[in-house]
């Protein structure tokens, strides 16, 4: 009998790895006056616990929006409120209004890290576990699949840098799971929740929309029943939104606009720092911001993003299948990452979710993509002093997910060469970044090279994924892990 790879064992192993990463520094540790994302999250707990709900998004004497003002939709605020209540119960000093700014005792760090772990277990790990557990797949491949999905980028950002991406991604994953079970109404609820946790979930909205729309047609035979299905989904979505936004709708005028302007900040730049996307790379050749007005940049972004995403969505609409749904999720989110306005380097995590879910189609390519997305955040890790865990987790990832590589490495020589060049190139670039000082004339040379190198990968991957969605028949793309 073969060694049974219990899914629980790999799930627990990923938790241990996450616990290990939690021991390392977070963004803005001991770095006043602004600190970093850790302080932002703590500050939101402070704001939501102490202020009435109408003041959460407004600049008041107690809520200085320039100091980490809330800029995520209400569900994040509610999440902060709940964790904040717990914080208050454990130690009121954690969330004292104004006085608690920059609070970071060891016990508080433990509390914050555990809040991430608990959120992760409730939303992401549980979703992944149920999804993979119920697949018809050999135990060994389930193990590999789970390991592939627990990719280093997400671990490092949530448990190192400090964010709660696992909540929004977990909710999106629940939506994907409900879709694959044919429970479209629940999918609409879960996805609306995800969207209301982080507005960046818009990256996944177009495929979700087209898939649900198309599935209405499929189910009902008559026009009326199709219409009823559509209305049901619409009502459920609206109801979820209404429920979440209810406190802001009934309060006085202008509050809604205020919240929206916080959540969609058009006054922020086209990209932040160096991002491995189209605009940042183009900026090396042409200084976009000198040539174009911010508003026209935004419209170009919209145009290019739409140009790439809508064909994928329409393709999904006309050739509606789960496989196309997964691929469309990849392509649209990647198009958003590469071309849309104000993209963070961390936004690549939104692409990694569908890529990891689709990994049984192309395990090695998925592994490759997920590793490169981890690499693309190298400058961020360096800033947060997280190089050691980043390298260790990547190495563990390679070792744990390793058995899947053999499945696809049997391919052509060129493919192997390409993968080899990519790995060696990334390693060399990482070493240069870490060891060599930048030449004085170009103080951000290595950072820029890291993002250009990653962009080159992402655009090739984009071309590949587009090719797979449009030109590879569903027959020839069998699940390789089965």
């Amino acid at each position: 009998m073969d060694v049974p790879f219990k899914l629980e064992v790999i799930a627990l192993t990923t938790v241990i790895i996450k616990l290990g990463v939690s021991l390392f520094p977070y963004s803005g540790k001991n770095n006043p006056p602004m600190f970093g994302d850790y302080e932002a999250q703590r500050h939101w707990m402070e704001i939501t616990v102490n202020l009435p709900i109408q003041d959460w998004y407004r600049n008041t004497t107690d809520n200085d929006l320039l100091y980490w003002g809330l800029d995520y939709p209400p569900l994040t605020a509610y999440h902060s409120y709940l964790t904040g209540l717990m914080a208050k119960k454990i130690n009121p000093d954690y969330v004292n209004l104004l006085a608690s700014r920059g609070f970071e005792s060891p016990n508080h760090q433990f509390f914050m890290r555990m809040s991430v772990l608990v959120s992760d277990c409730l939303f992401f790990i549980s979703a992944l576990y149920f999804y993979i557990k119920n697949l018809k797949m050999d135990n060994k491949y389930k193990w590999v699949f789970f390991a592939l999905c627990s990719h280093p980028g997400l671990t490092l950002i949530d448990y190192g840098h400090f964010q709660y991406n696992s909540v929004s991604l977990g909710l999106a994953l629940w939506a994907i799971i409900f879709v694959s079970k044919g429970r479209n109404l629940w999918a609409a609820v879960a996805f609306s929740a995800a969207l209301n946790f982080k507005q960046m979930e818009l990256y996944h909205a177009i495929p979700m929309f087209f898939y649900l729309l198309a599935s209405c047609h499929r189910k009902g035979s008559t026009l009326i029943s199709q219409l009823v299905n559509l209305i049901k989904i619409g009502v459920v979505t609206l109801a979820t939104f209404a429920l979440i936004w209810y406190p802001f709708l009934q309060l006085h005028d202008g509050l809604l606009q205020q919240v929206l302007s916080r959540v969609f900040p058009f006054n922020r730049g086209i990209f932040e720092d160096y991002v491995a996307n189209f605009w940042c790379t183009l900026n090396v050749l042409v200084k976009i911001r000198r040539i174009l007005e911010p508003t026209s940049i935004a419209s170009y972004c919209l145009l290019l993003t739409a140009l790439f995403s809508f064909p994928c969505g329409l393709h999904l609409y006309f050739k509606n299948s789960l496989r196309n749904f997964h691929l469309c999720l990849i392509n649209v989110s990647l198009a958003f990452f590469l071309f849309s306005y104000h993209v963070h380097e961390k936004s690549i995590l939104l692409v990694t979710l569908p890529v990891s879910i689709a990994s049984p189609y192309f395990p090695f390519t998925a592994f490759w993509f997920l590793s490169i997305s981890h690499f693309s955040m190298l400058p961020l890790y360096a800033k947060d002093d997280l190089i050691l865990p980043a390298v260790a987790v990547l190495a563990l990832y390679c070792l744990l997910a390793n058995s899947s590589l053999k499945l696809e490495m049997g391919r052509s020589m060129q493919f192997k060469c390409l993968a080899g060049i990519s790995a060696i190139g990334s390693a060399v670039l990482a070493l240069l970044f870490l060891i060599c000082p930048n030449p004085p004339a170009y103080p951000y040379l290595w950072t820029l090279l890291v993002s250009v190198w990653s962009f080159a990968h992402f655009s090739v991957f984009f071309a590949y994924f587009l090719y797979v969605q449009f030109w590879v028949g569903s027959q020839s793309l069998k699940l390789k892990m089965q």
Partner: protein, 506 residues
């Protein structure tokens, strides 16, 4: 496969570099400083730090070698007067030195796998490699708490592996080295003594006894040379070194936290008797001597039961050794019997020894792992002992993060070892696994979960002011002691039984 598992667990260890470290970290830093900056004749004399050098000479040499690498990281850590020095580079160096010297452990595992792998096919070498390399007790004690047990266990496995391959002289060499690194391994020295004497120096063929005097000389040379090299430089200070290695006078029967052994049960029975005596007025014994200070003070005067001195523990240990000696004498030249004897002997010392540390359970668990892959009976005992023994290490870690980590670590290891081993001992006839816990064993494990949760979380919630700080430790050690003694009894019976079976077959 072995090296792939080793690489994985190594990267896992790297992730725990910033975690809590016990005073043992400072102990080893001080030894680095002592061996690096003081002349040889001061190594065992210096008492600048309260953590004086109390390991045998080879370990001192080992620290001396490490100190030259430490230089490159941060020379400040090598100053004897820099007490409690822990710069970032010091932590990094010390942690990495433990992680790196675990290569010896991997080599030891490899040595044992050669012989096990050749007799047992299939997945058993891979599973054995996993069980040993990822041993969670070593992970907790070495890579969080901070010690060099992986390296030492590696040498032990090199020695055991040599016996398994019938390379007796090599085994003797490695074991002498081990004794000169850490004298706690004297616990299992009787087994080596009896085995090498009976199986290597004496040969009985058709009731004709041949004594190989030459072999005895060779053996003696190996042992004497190793000890000579180790102790040679300290020959003038032998007495001083010994007083450091065996500080009997100021140690009590039990360590601050009672190791889960026979004396933990003995202590608690005494307490219960004392308390009930007071309640019912049976005696006029003043119970102040036994007032619940157990654990706080190492010296422990028993109130009702007779107090136990080092001599009593020695007699008990020797009595408990009898099964090990019996099976060794009845079945010479059986490497597997040798491994059983090691386990029995380590059990005896752990259960009845004087001032036993809870970490010593690892000396029982690691050799028992070697047996777990070959028989489903031993496998069940291994699982029981590994779960109980590793949980009994919990009080070593008490900081918030490590409280969570230790639970996940032990849970994962236990679950993984159970699922791998139960698949290995799969019975195609009955279509189920042969590793089946009895109902009371299951009950015991559930109780263990409750005790572990109580120790880690519930106690601090129920008793935040800390009025009864030793209650969780008390419950933990007594509960685990029950499990360890149960496994020991079953293991003794199983050893004597299998031994009978084999002799009948002959």
């Amino acid at each position: 496969m072995l090296w792939r598992i080793f690489a994985s667990i190594t990267f896992g260890k790297l992730l725990f570099i910033p975690s809590y470290r016990s005073t043992d970290f400072e102990v080893h830093r001080n030894w680095l400083a002592v061996t690096h900056s003081l002349p040889l004749n001061k190594w065992y004399v210096d008492d600048t730090s309260q953590w004086t050098l109390d390991y045998p000479p080879l370990f001192a040499w080992f620290e001396y070698l490490l100190s030259w690498v430490a230089c490159l990281f941060d020379p400040e850590m090598l100053k004897v007067e820099n007490l409690n020095y822990a710069s970032q580079n010091t932590v990094l160096f010390q942690r990495i030195s433990v992680i790196f010297t675990d290569v010896v452990y991997a080599l030891g595992v490899q040595k044992c796998l050669y012989s096990i792998g050749s007799t047992q096919g299939g997945n058993s070498p891979t599973i054995l490699a996993f069980l040993l390399l990822c041993n969670v007790g070593l992970f907790i004690v070495d890579h969080i708490h901070f010690q060099y047990n992986g390296f030492l266990t590696g040498i032990l496995l090199l020695s055991v592996g040599s016996i398994l391959q019938k390379e007796n002289l090599k085994a003797a060499f490695w074991f002498s080295v081990l004794l000169n690194l850490k004298h706690i391994y004297l616990y299992i020295a009787p087994v080596y003594f009896v085995y090498l004497f009976r199986s290597y120096c004496i040969e009985i063929q058709k009731s004709r006894l041949t004594f190989h005097f030459k072999r005895l000389i060779k053996l003696g040379m190996v042992v004497v040379t190793t000890f000579g090299v180790a102790y040679g430089p300290f020959v003038g200070q032998f007495q001083q070194v010994m007083s450091r290695l065996f500080p009997f006078e100021n140690r009590g029967l039990c360590h601050a936290y009672w190791a889960p052994n026979f004396w933990a049960i003995y202590n608690i029975v005494d307490k219960i008797l004392a308390v009930s005596a007071r309640l019912f007025g049976w005696t006029t014994v003043s119970t102040t001597t036994a007032s619940m200070t157990g654990g706080l003070v190492q010296e422990f005067e028993h109130a009702i039961l007779p107090s136990v001195g080092p001599k009593t523990t020695l007699i008990c240990t020797l009595l408990a050794l009898i099964p090990a000696i019996v099976i060794l004498l009845r079945q010479p030249n059986q490497p597997r019997v040798f491994v059983r004897a090691i386990v029995l002997c380590a059990f005896a010392s752990f259960l009845f020894g004087w001032h036993v540390h809870e970490k010593a359970i690892l000396i029982v668990i690691t050799p028992l792992t070697l047996l777990a892959v070959s028989s489903h009976e031993d496998c069940r005992l291994f699982l029981l002992l590994s779960i109980t023994g590793h949980v009994s290490l919990f009080p070593l870690l008490f900081t918030p993060f490590e409280n969570v980590s230790k639970i996940f670590l032990v849970l994962t290891y236990s679950l993984a070892s159970y699922s791998f081993l139960s698949a290995l001992h799969y019975d195609p006839k009955s279509k189920s696994t042969l590793v089946k816990f009895r109902s009371w064993e299951r009950l015991f494990l559930y109780g263990l979960v409750a005790v572990a949760l109580f120790e880690s979380f519930i106690h601090s919630m129920v008793d935040p002011s800390g009025k009864l700080p030793f209650l969780p430790l008390l419950i933990m050690s007594v509960y685990c002691a029950v499990g360890v003694i149960y496994v020991w009894l079953l293991f003794v019976i199983a050893s004597l039984k299998t031994e009978k079976k084999i002799s009948k077959q002959k």
